[in-house]
């Protein structure tokens, strides 16, 4: 399961940052997940809640922020949000909403970023 390995990598990253900052407990973790990743935020959160047991994160609040898809169109001058409305958003994201071309650079939407943590210290 894809989300499990990502959840484990997130927990390892948080623990590493917490230990470097002499944390006694992690109280909050904020993660950014791009809409273009093949990650399901709900599954990710469920798995994080399971694997944080007996760690510094055991009682941490886990906040997952969706990152929308932003593109830079190489065919016209459009830079900004892609149209990701509707169930077929995977198809529409590769198109520029202005000129309808697929020749776009994806600026955001592919990340799984541990953004910040809130920790308790002695």
């Amino acid at each position: 399961m894809h989300e499990l390995s990502m959840a484990q990598a997130i927990v390892d990253t948080v623990l590493d940052a917490a230990e470097k900052n002499n944390a006694t407990e992690v109280v909050e973790v904020t993660i950014e997940v791009g809409m273009l990743t093949m990650l399901n935020p709900e599954q990710l959160k469920f798995l994080l809640d399971v694997i944080v047991e007996d760690t510094l994160l055991a009682n941490a609040e886990i906040i997952i922020e969706d990152v929308p898809v932003e593109i830079d169109c190489r065919s016209c001058d459009y830079t900004g949000l892609a149209n990701t409305d509707g169930s077929d958003h995977y198809l529409s994201i590769v198109k520029c909403p202005q000129c309808d071309e697929r020749n776009v650079e994806i600026l955001t939407g592919k990340e799984c970023n541990v953004k910040t943590i809130k920790i308790e210290k002695e």
């Binding site: 399961m1 894809h2 499990l4 390995s5 990502m6 990598a9 997130i10 990253t13 948080v14 940052a17 917490a18 900052n21 006694t24 109280v27 273009l36 990743t37 093949m38 990650l39 995977y90 198809l91 590769v94 697929r102 592919k110 990340e111 799984c112 970023n113 541990v114 953004k115 910040t116 943590i117 809130k118 920790i119 308790e120 210290k121 002695e122």
Partner: protein, 218 residues
């Protein structure tokens, strides 16, 4: 007294994999090994296609065979007398750059020209994981249904070569292989799409030519 502090972490798990992927590519480039990430659904014919390529070409091939638990595919490649490293992912549904890096250490890179990395049978999870290969070949077959491309668009967006396999069975399973080609082109107008049947030999030479082209351009 306890105090709460906010710590900026800004560690992107995806970027970490990408960095490892670039490292893998440097390892491969050092020994002038061209690598192909072979992605496709279970039963699409990835293993059979790689076996046929091994038997058809002159260059020296190595294979990393990714599987969830078994060594079955690795055993098939060993029968063709090429260096093989079997990679078991355990619970995971994809290979990642870290796993491939381990396999590269066990591969006699100085003795091979082309490395095929057979990914785990899946059209979804491998999208997120660059392995550091020089090209990605996506293998699908008509027996999976001619809506396969529409259902898994992202894997085709970054593909360098798409093989639509088992076209000899299209009529029997009621699939329109031309539609599959059109669907791929709709997502990725640049990509070369080849219809194949390993049973009849249809399109197989074109696959070899396409891979040769990528090797020459690299």
């Amino acid at each position: 007294m306890h105090k709460v502090a906010e710590v900026e972490v800004q560690h992107d798990i995806m970027v970490a994999n990408k960095k490892l992927a670039r490292k893998n590519q440097r390892i491969l480039d050092k020994d002038r090994v061209f690598s192909v990430d072979v992605v496709g659904a279970i039963g699409s014919g990835k293993t059979s296609l790689i076996e046929a390529i091994i038997d058809a070409v002159d260059y020296k091939i190595g294979v990393i065979a990714g599987d969830v638990i078994s060594k079955y595919d690795a055993g098939r490649f060993e029968n063709h007398n090429v260096p093989v490293v079997g990679l078991n992912t355990g619970k995971e549904c994809h290979l990642d750059a870290h796993l491939v890096e381990h396999a590269l250490h066990d591969m006699p890179l100085e003795d091979i020209d082309v490395l095929f990395i057979e990914n785990v049978g899946n059209l979804i999870c491998p999208v997120d994981f660059d392995l550091g290969s020089h090209m990605r070949m996506v293998v699908i077959s008509v027996t999976e249904g001619d809506d396969t491309v529409e259902k898994h668009p992202l894997i085709f967006q970054d593909a360098d070569l798409v093989v639509i396999n088992k076209v000899d069975l299209a009529e029997a399973v009621g699939a329109d292989s031309d539609k599959m080609v059109r669907d791929v082109k709709e997502l990725n107008s640049e990509v070369q799409v080849i219809k194949t049947s390993l049973k009849t030999g249809t399109g197989f030479d074109d696959v070899i030519k396409a891979i040769d082209g990528f090797i020459t351009d690299n």
